[in-house]
Symmetry: C2
């Protein structure tokens, strides 16, 4: 057997045996796609397992994440920190080889994948980051950034809307260093793709302005190699290479059927596989010659790496300022005076989306590595970077990304930009459309990427656009998601602190919920936000508090005006601004007790949204005022009034629970 | 001016003045798309304003819902219950003319639209329903069902992934009675589509196996008319007609720019508009000749309607059995013995997804009008209808819909099937992928469509597939959404009751969260589910209860086993099964007090998910045991153990709050 066949079959058998041992997993993809995976890794992918985070490495994303064993086998064979024992522990608790590839968990895994369509979309973000950095920093003969982004995807990735959105944008932007290998096997879980997916892929991708290439035999390594080379030649368009494969190739009684997609092969299937490939090795044994070939290939890759080190050194010498800027991006360095007094000072009352715009623009002016965009709502979200222009096919240095009306792809691409490294970024849309990108936001949290979600039009305050545009359940949806800070500031000053938190967050994404309507700057608002919730307006008699009001965002003003009336009636009332429950909940018990003393049971919360998350603060004796219905179309003030969100509701509830007239 | 011009311009000026008066709205679309809208409504659309719910009417969906005034103007001109006064009240509280078209709110509106991409996807569902009913019921010369589904969409609809997904499926299924008019104006909010959307639409839609037609001048009524006729001739493929328009046509200083998309024209714009169209009428005045033309057209439509009535009568006589079946579908009639004793009886312990499969198949066998499908997970969701086969291009009577890996489109198509009428339907995927279809589920709730969402793999019990496949926040996300019942049954028996609720729901969608793993049938489980939450296992001493345990789904078994140990230690413990919080919350106070007496403050909840929704039940003195992190990959039992979800956690919490050793 040729060495490259030994290597390809090593991928196949490591996968098959690991899945068999775990009694769980997806052998169909590794068996069919092993040749393309080898061709890519062995002959093209510039990586260095000794420096797995090398900023100029080629990126590889297994978008069809269920085929994770393919990726683990590659990592093992190409010298990453992943042993045969790790492979034997496939899909076991705390092993390096979980069911789907997990970023930050396993060295060399570039993105968490599994939820279909998102891997290729994330790859688009990585490719976009590469374009920006390449154009911004490279100098004649000194290419600091110059690498490819590769992905392997399956039918499911192309059926999912998010994949469509991202690739349509990649075509529009001409991200030519994105090369996608499409493992085209015409099989999905429920059967042949003819029943649900008979697109003419070539026409579709030509419609996207992709280069479309095809390999008819997915086992033909030289043909795949040649086609990848051709893909690289097109410097104007991204490439999709459709590679025809047979799912579960070699497990003769199963191959080509959906049965082999997601279940172990079983004894018979394994034995057929061994016969077919004339494989004479023990389970989990890799032939020496396979390692030998991989090592030779690694030596070549090492030379590319060493050459880059030389370039980097030269660049550092010749362009110290640019190099510093580049490294500042990688390390997230912020000028000392960024969050100075002025950052938190506002001249007049503003919608929090307007305040956010001021902060965002201050930051963008000072940080070269800060880019972002909107899903076609920049003018409404107020997220235009005024000191820059559009990132486009013709100019890669624009800091405003025009995502188009593609919220989901936007979040996945945002994830990809951060995965690349060297950049900080935000995305933006209306809060209600967080629904569209929920699954992408979940991956931000799982991957611990500090992506900033600027959501505006945060409540029924949207007004005339009506129920479809007025968020109700979205704040709760996000609060329930682990590792996400959702901040709903009550005024301009809190908004500035929210930006500070978001920018300084290292491993947690942040979402802002910002108002469309103008909000007064409230006395006492500000730094308290850094603790998530705080006393924004203390009772006159702090020794004897009758009532605690809790609120967030545009409703805090109502809580404060209600308090004033209640105090006038002799009811000692504290108002707590609670812009971020997650941060408040993470404070120490002493602080939390100081804000919400356990023995004060008369508590009322007010938020123009689902009241579910407030239950844990108001308890069985308190009242949550919120919305358990959809909104209505009309001027914002009338909508608040009609839905009874305001001062009057608080006063009524207060009299009820205090048993007053 | 020709009468048809007068009618087209009436649409334009009603829209422009209404938006001006409301000082809010989107004039760009009505000004550009009025001619295509008129051509469709005047010359093609078979409707009867006196019988707006006529089952065989042509359907019209304004997918670009922000252009709502276009639709309201048409409804007014074509005799629906919508007056000039209603139009003057555009975007005001409780008016018939809210900001976006709202189904059930305004007569003649076929779907709530506004969230982009979903209108065309819903139209696909309507067209699919038509195909099923047409094939199933029509007899030679007696076409009970035989109508078109039309939609007007904009660039945004085509950029959104959901629109892509749905149209790709429509092409695969060859839904030839779906005709989409694409208002192609090359402008989105943030500017020209070239910055974010330069697809070759023709190639793309040919790739989807659509008939692609083009009209170069969006003001050419005869050309549009001719092209719609051509569209109808293709009986194998759906049609997309790209109609080139100028956004805001006629408001000369604004037209063709993004400025005219979403803001009133202002005095100058209006005056330009009047000049351009030589429009000499008062605001909100419609020329008599425009009404006259519309009425003539309505007379023609009436003849089509009357002819159908004849067909219906003949059909009723000649095919009484089929007619009854057809009407049963429309009225949702269920055989009396459907929910008999056997329906709720199970021989052995089952995963709730398996129990659900039994219920679903029992229902499907008895109801001709019950169809549904999965996003390529039928075999995992256990939602295959075994007594039927695939709905396909070649056979429209199959009851199993193969949605492909397109969760979001699936929900929108499900909405469309219900909007059509005559059918009951379900959709299915893994619970974690409810994220992908969240925005479609929201429209189910807003439109009050009783779509059934069968979500399986409902917790960390998924096991090896790991964090990306284990839901944490999804139950909370759904519980926060108004008008949605999310039911998480604890065993097979509760599952059967859940199906009964879902089937009998008239205006509320239902979502099931079902287990992958086998669950024991618990003593006491069952009918109590109909009240949302109930005492599944009473304390030995019901007069003196020390502790209440609350749980749902697969964790109820842990609560019961914990209870047994606690009772053995002399702690009088009640266990409440809470499969559906929304239904429980809607019970009368007396019942709720009987289950959760206010003075029993020692309460512990256990659910393998975000604990946020339990706060309101356990209060400040109780404990919620849940998950505020993502899951892990490993065998299911180990994952439960590692994440401390089980009996031991309850016992520890009980001892803590009861201050015991």
């Amino acid at each position: 057997m040729k060495r490259e066949e030994l290597l390809v079959n090593s991928i196949r058998f490591l996968s098959a045996y690991a899945i068999e041992k775990a009694n769980s997993g997806h052998p169909g993809l590794p068996l069919g796609a092993a040749p393309m995976a080898y061709t890519l890794w062995g002959r093209h992918l510039n990586i260095n397992p000794k420096d797995p985070n090398w900023i100029n490495r080629d990126r590889f994303i297994l978008s069809a994440g269920h085929g994770s064993m393919l990726n683990y086998a590659l990592l093992h064979l190409y010298g990453f920190d992943l042993t045969i024992d790790d492979i034997k522990n496939f899909r076991q608790i705390d092993s390096k080889t979980p069911g789907h590839p997990e970023y930050r968990w396993t060295e060399g895994i570039e993105a968490t994948t599994g939820p279909l369509g998102q891997g290729i979309s994330t790859a688009v973000g990585i490719a976009l980051a590469e374009e920006y950095l390449r154009e911004k920093y490279n100098k004649k003969d000194l290419n600091l950034i110059d690498h490819y982004t590769y992905a392997i995807c399956g039918d499911g990735d192309l059926m999912e809307g998010v994949g469509y959105e991202a690739l349509s944008l990649a075509g529009t932007l001409g991200l030519s260093k994105l090369i996608i290998l499409y493992d085209s096997n015409n099989i999905t879980i429920d059967g042949g793709t003819d029943i649900s997916f008979n697109e003419d892929i070539k026409k579709r991708f030509k419609g996207f302005d992709f280069q479309y290439l095809e390999v008819e035999d997915g086992n033909d390594i030289d043909a795949i190699d040649k086609t990848i080379k051709e893909a690289k030649k097109d410097t104007k368009r991204p490439t999709l290479i459709e590679i025809k494969t047979i799912i579960g190739y070699g497990a003769k009684s199963l191959e080509g059927t959906s049965k082999v997609h997601g279940a172990p092969l079983g004894d018979q299937g394994l034995s057929e596989l061994k016969d077919f490939f004339k494989w004479d090795y023990e389970p989990f044994e890799v032939p020496e010659k396979a390692y030998e070939l991989a090592n030779e290939e690694l030596d070549k890759k090492k030379k590319v790496y060493d050459k880059w080190l030389e370039i980097e050194n030269k660049y550092k010498e010749e362009y110290p300022e640019e190099y510093k800027s580049f490294m500042d991006g990688i390390n997230g360095v912020v000028p000392e005076d960024l969050y100075n007094e002025d950052f938190f000072k506002f001249e007049k009352d503003l919608a929090t989306r307007e305040a956010s715009s001021i902060c965002l623009n201050t930051i963008a002016e000072k940080l070269d590595y800060f880019i972002g965009g909107s899903a076609d709502l920049a003018s409404s979200n107020k997220t235009e970077i005024k000191s820059s222009y559009s990132f486009s096919k013709d100019d890669r240095t624009g800091k405003n990304i025009r995502y188009g009306i593609r919220e989901f792809a936007m979040s996945a691409i945002g994830n990809g930009i951060l995965l690349h490294g060297g950049l900080k970024t935000f995305v933006s849309t209306f809060l209600v459309f967080s629904d569209y990108l929920k699954a992408g936001m979940r991956l931000s949290s799982i991957m611990e990427l500090p992506l900033i979600y600027v959501f505006t039009h945060d409540s029924i305050g949207v007004g005339e656009d009506g129920p479809t545009h007025q968020p109700i359940e979205q704040l709760t949806m996000m609060r329930a998601q682990p590792n996400l800070n959702i901040i709903r500031p009550c005024d301009a000053v809190e908004t500035a602190y929210a930006w500070k938190i978001a920018m300084e967050s290292d491993r947690t994404p942040t979402a802002f919920a910002l108002s469309r309507q103008t909000l007064p700057i409230l006395e006492g608002s500000g730094e308290g936000l850094l603790r998530g919730g705080y006393i924004i307006s203390e009772a006159k008699n702090r020794e004897k508090i009758d009532l605690i009001l809790l609120s967030s965002g545009s409703e805090v003003q109502f809580a404060i005006s209600a308090k004033e009336k209640l105090e006038a009636d002799g009811i000692s009332t504290r108002v707590v601004s609670m812009p971020c429950m997650e941060i408040f909940d993470s404070q120490d018990d002493e602080y939390k007790e100081s804000v919400l003393p356990k023995d004060i049971r008369n508590r009322i919360s007010l938020e123009a949204a689902s009241d579910i998350p407030w239950g844990k603060y108001v308890g069985l004796d308190g009242v949550s005022i919120g919305l358990d219905r959809f909104g209505m179309s009309g001027p914002a003030d009338s909508v608040f009034e009609n839905l009874n969100i305001g001062e009057a509701a608080i006063i009524k509830a207060a009299k009820d629970i205090l048993d007053l007239e």
